[in-house]
C-alpha cells in the first residue's frame, strides 16, 4: 500500500457521506426516509461530526432511550410543533423492545409522511436492517437503499489495540487476583452486536 492511495474504506465512506448530504439536501421540505447504516458507534460519531461540518442543512438530533416504545409518538412528543430542516434519530439498536417498536412503526407509517415534511435519517446497524426487512417491510420500502459506512481494517486494528491496552492497564492497576474485565465498557466506542466478531 502506498501513501498516495487512501484505503478503499475511506473512499467508500466519503462517497457515502456525500450521498447522505445529497439525500438530505435534495429532500428539503419533503418527508423522506433515509437509512444510514453503520455497525460501530465510534465510526458513526465520527461520520456525524463530518456530516454536521459539511451539510448545509441544520440537523436536529433525537436520541431514543432504551425504554422507547414507539417511534412516531416519540418524535411527536420530543419535537412538538417544531419542524426541523432534517431529523437524525439515534439509538434504535439499544431500544429494549425494538421488535415491537418496528412492528408498530410499520403499522402507523402513514403518520410519518402525513405529518413530517422533512427528511428523517434513521441510524441503523446490520441487525436493525434485518429486522426492518422482516418486521417493517412497508416502512422500509419507503427508503432508498441504506447508505453504508464501513470501518477500515486499519481502524479496526487500532480499536482492538486500544482495547487490549486498556485491558492490560486495568489488569496492572487492579493487581493480580482482583481483576475484572468489563469488555463492553473497554470497547465503548465500538460496542454493538458485532463486537464479538472482533475477538
Amino acid at each position: 500500500m502506498t501513501d498516495a492511495q487512501p484505503p478503499e474504506e475511506i473512499l467508500v465512506n466519503d462517497r457515502a457521506l456525500n450521498k447522505l448530504i445529497r439525500a438530505i439536501t435534495l429532500s428539503q421540505g419533503n418527508f423522506s426516509l433515509i437509512l444510514a447504516r453503520c455497525n460501530y458507534v465510534g465510526l458513526r460519531d465520527q461520520v456525524v461530526q463530518q456530516l454536521k461540518a459539511q451539510c448545509p442543512i441544520a440537523l436536529r438530533e433525537l436520541y431514543l432511550p432504551a425504554s422507547t416504545k414507539t417511534l412516531y409518538t416519540t418524535i411527536q412528543s420530543e419535537l412538538g410543533r417544531e419542524q426541523p430542516q432534517a431529523l437524525m434519530i439515534f439509538g434504535l439498536e439499544s431500544v429494549a423492545t425494538v421488535d415491537q417498536l418496528l412492528t408498530s412503526t410499520n403499522q402507523v407509517r402513514e403518520e410519518f409522511r402525513k405529518h413530517l415534511s422533512y427528511p428523517v435519517v434513521l441510524w441503523i446497524n446490520d441487525d436493525i436492517l434485518k429486522k426492518l426487512v422482516k418486521l417493517a417491510p412497508d416502512f422500509k420500502s419507503w427508503a432508498a437503499t441504506s447508505i453504508k459506512f464501513e470501518i477500515s481494517n486499519f481502524e479496526l486494528v487500532q480499536a482492538i489495540k486500544q482495547t487490549a491496552d486498556a485491558t492490560v492497564t486495568a489488569i496492572l492497576e487492579a493487581g493480580s487476583g482482583r481483576f475484572f474485565i468489563d469488555v463492553s465498557a473497554s470497547f465503548k466506542g465500538f460496542s454493538n452486536a458485532n463486537t464479538p466478531d472482533i475477538f
Binding site: 450521498k19 419533503n30 418527508f31 426487512v133 422482516k134 420500502s141 419507503w142 432508498a144 437503499t145
Partner: protein, 447 residues
C-alpha cells in the same frame, strides 16, 4: 429571437423529478399534477382489477355491495384505490375514502372500532357536502357511553350537533388507554347488532337517501390500510386478520352501502381463504406485480413499455408518451440503463422507485450505468443480509418445483420481505424471485 421558447416545458426539472421518485409518495390521481405520473398498468397485471371493482358498484347502484381488495407491498394499492375513487366520482357517486390506520390502533382492532370509524368518516364527509345527520340511536348511545366512561362528551360544535365530533371525542378518549378501550368494547360488543342496524338505517341509509336527493348515484366507502392490522396470533389462537375478516366477516359485509375493504394479503395464503370467500360472497381481488417478463423468462414488451413510461412520466410529465422516449438520454446514460432498471425491478413499482431514488441520491443526472449497478448491489445486500439458510432452501424449492407459495409462513417470510414476487396471466398466477436477488452469488451457488 430565433430560439423556440415553446420548448420550456420540455426541460427537465431535476428537483421535481427527484421529489416525484420518492418511494414514500402515493399518487393521488384526483390531483392534476399526480395524474400526469399515473400509468395505467391494467393490461399487464392480469385483468383490470380496478375496473372490476368499479363495475360491480356502478352496475348495481341501488344494491349494497361489499368487496375485498389486497395486494403486495408497494405494488400500487393506494394509488389504484384513488383511481377507483376518481372513476366513481365521475359517475356521480359520493365516495368516502379513508385510511383506517389514522383512526384505529392496528395492533388491536375490533369490529366496533371499524364500525365507529366508518360511521365517523361517512358522517364527517357528509357534513362537507352539507348533509348533517342526527341519528337518535347514537345520541342515546353516546349519552350512555359518557355516563359509563364518567366523562361528559361534547357533541355540539359551532354548527350544532355533530356525530363525527362525538365519535372523535370517544375514540380520542379510548385510543391511548387500553383499559378504557377494553371497557368500551365490552360495553359495545353485546350491542353490535343494534349498532349495525342503527348505522344502516340512521347513517348509511339516511345518507344515501339525502345524497340521492342531491343527485348523487349513491354512497361508496373505501376503507384503505385495513391490510395493516397486526397479523401476529392473539391469545385466542386466532390472528387479528382471521378474527376480523373470517370470524366477524358476516358483520363487516352487512353495511348498507357500497364498501371496499383492503384486507391483509396473508389471508389469500390462509387455508381459510374459502371460508373468507363464503363470508363475503365474493373472492378478494388481488393486485399483482406488473409483468416485465413473461412466464418463460423473455421480456414482456407491453409491461416493459409501461414501466419505461412510469419512469419517464416523472421526468417529463408534460410530454406525450412518444415524446418522452426521445428524452431518455436526459435521464439515463442510455436506453439500456433504463431497461436494466425496469427489468431488475421485477415489475414492482415501488421497488423501481427505491432503485431510481437511490441513483438520484448518488449523483446528478443522467443516471450512469455504473451508478445503477452499484445501487442494485447495495439493494441486494440490504435484502440478502436478512435471508436465513432455511429461507434460501425454501426459495430454491419453490422456484425449482414451480410451486405456488402455500401457507402463511411461506408468505410471511418470502413475499412480505420481498424475496419473491407474484405475477398473473391468463393461465393463473406464478411466483418468481426478486431479480436483484437472483443475480447474487449466493443464489446462483444454490441452483
Amino acid at each position: 429571437m430565433f430560439r423556440q421558447t415553446a420548448q420550456i416545458p420540455m426541460l427537465l426539472d431535476a428537483q421535481k423529478f427527484f421529489n416525484a421518485c420518492n418511494p414514500s409518495k402515493t399518487l393521488k390521481v384526483e390531483q392534476p399534477e399526480d395524474r400526469q405520473y399515473y400509468v395505467d398498468f391494467s393490461t399487464v397485471r392480469g385483468g383490470n382489477v380496478i375496473q372490476r371493482l368499479q363495475r360491480t358498484i356502478a352496475l348495481q347502484p341501488n344494491v349494497a355491495t361489499c368487496q375485498l381488495f389486497t395486494g403486495h407491498i408497494g405494488c400500487g394499492k393506494s394509488t389504484e384505490l384513488f383511481r377507483l375513487k376518481a372513476d366513481l366520482e365521475q359517475q356521480k357517486f359520493h365516495v368516502v375514502y379513508f385510511e383506517s390506520s389514522a383512526d384505529l390502533d392496528m395492533a388491536d382492532v375490533d369490529i366496533s372500532d371499524i364500525l365507529l370509524a366508518i360511521t365517523r368518516q361517512v358522517s364527517a364527509s357528509l357534513e362537507q357536502v352539507n348533509v348533517r345527520l342526527k341519528p337518535g340511536y347514537f345520541i342515546q348511545l353516546f349519552g350512555e357511553i359518557a355516563d359509563f366512561l364518567q366523562t361528559p362528551i361534547e357533541f355540539s360544535g359551532e354548527a350544532g350537533f355533530s356525530l363525527p365530533m362525538g365519535i372523535g371525542k370517544v375514540t380520542a378518549k379510548t385510543k391511548d388507554s387500553p383499559k378504557l378501550r377494553s371497557q368500551l368494547r365490552q360495553y359495545l360488543e353485546p350491542r353490535t347488532s343494534s349498532i349495525l342496524e342503527a348505522i344502516n338505517t340512521e347513517v348509511l341509509g339516511k345518507a344515501t337517501e339525502l345524497l340521492k336527493a342531491k343527485g348523487y348515484a349513491g354512497l361508496v366507502v373505501i376503507v384503505d390500510n385495513l391490510d395493516r392490522v397486526d397479523s401476529s396470533p392473539k391469545t385466542t389462537g386466532r390472528s387479528q386478520p382471521e378474527y376480523l375478516f373470517i370470524d366477524r366477516g358476516e358483520q363487516l359485509r352487512k353495511l348498507n352501502c357500497h364498501v371496499v375493504y383492503t384486507i391483509p394479503l396473508v389471508l389469500i395464503f390462509s387455508n381459510e381463504l374459502s371460508t373468507l370467500t363464503n363470508r363475503f360472497g365474493v373472492k378478494p381481488t388481488v393486485l399483482p406485480m406488473v409483468k416485465v417478463k413473461a412466464r418463460e423468462g423473455t421480456d414482456h414488451d407491453e409491461g416493459m413499455k409501461l414501466m419505461r413510461q412510469m419512469v419517464m412520466s416523472r421526468a417529463f410529465p408534460h410530454l406525450s408518451a412518444a415524446q418522452r422516449l426521445d428524452q431518455i438520454t436526459d435521464v439515463f446514460e442510455s436506453t439500456a440503463t433504463l431497461d436494466r432498471l425496469c427489468r431488475v425491478s421485477g415489475g414492482h413499482v415501488r421497488n423501481l422507485l427505491v432503485l431510481l431514488y437511490s441513483c438520484l441520491q448518488e449523483a446528478d443526472l443522467p443516471v450512469q450505468q455504473t451508478c445503477l449497478e452499484m445501487v442494485i448491489r447495495e439493494y441486494r445486500d440490504d435484502l440478502i443480509s436478512a435471508i436465513s439458510n432455511e429461507e434460501w432452501t425454501m426459495l430454491h424449492q419453490i422456484l425449482k418445483n414451480q410451486d405456488n407459495v402455500k401457507g402463511e409462513e411461506e408468505y410471511q417470510t418470502l413475499l412480505r420481505s420481498m424475496f419473491l414476487f407474484e405475477y398473473r396471466d391468463d393461465e393463473g398466477r406464478w411466483f418468481d424471485i426478486n431479480p436483484a436477488i437472483a443475480e447474487s452469488k449466493k443464489f446462483r451457488q444454490g441452483l
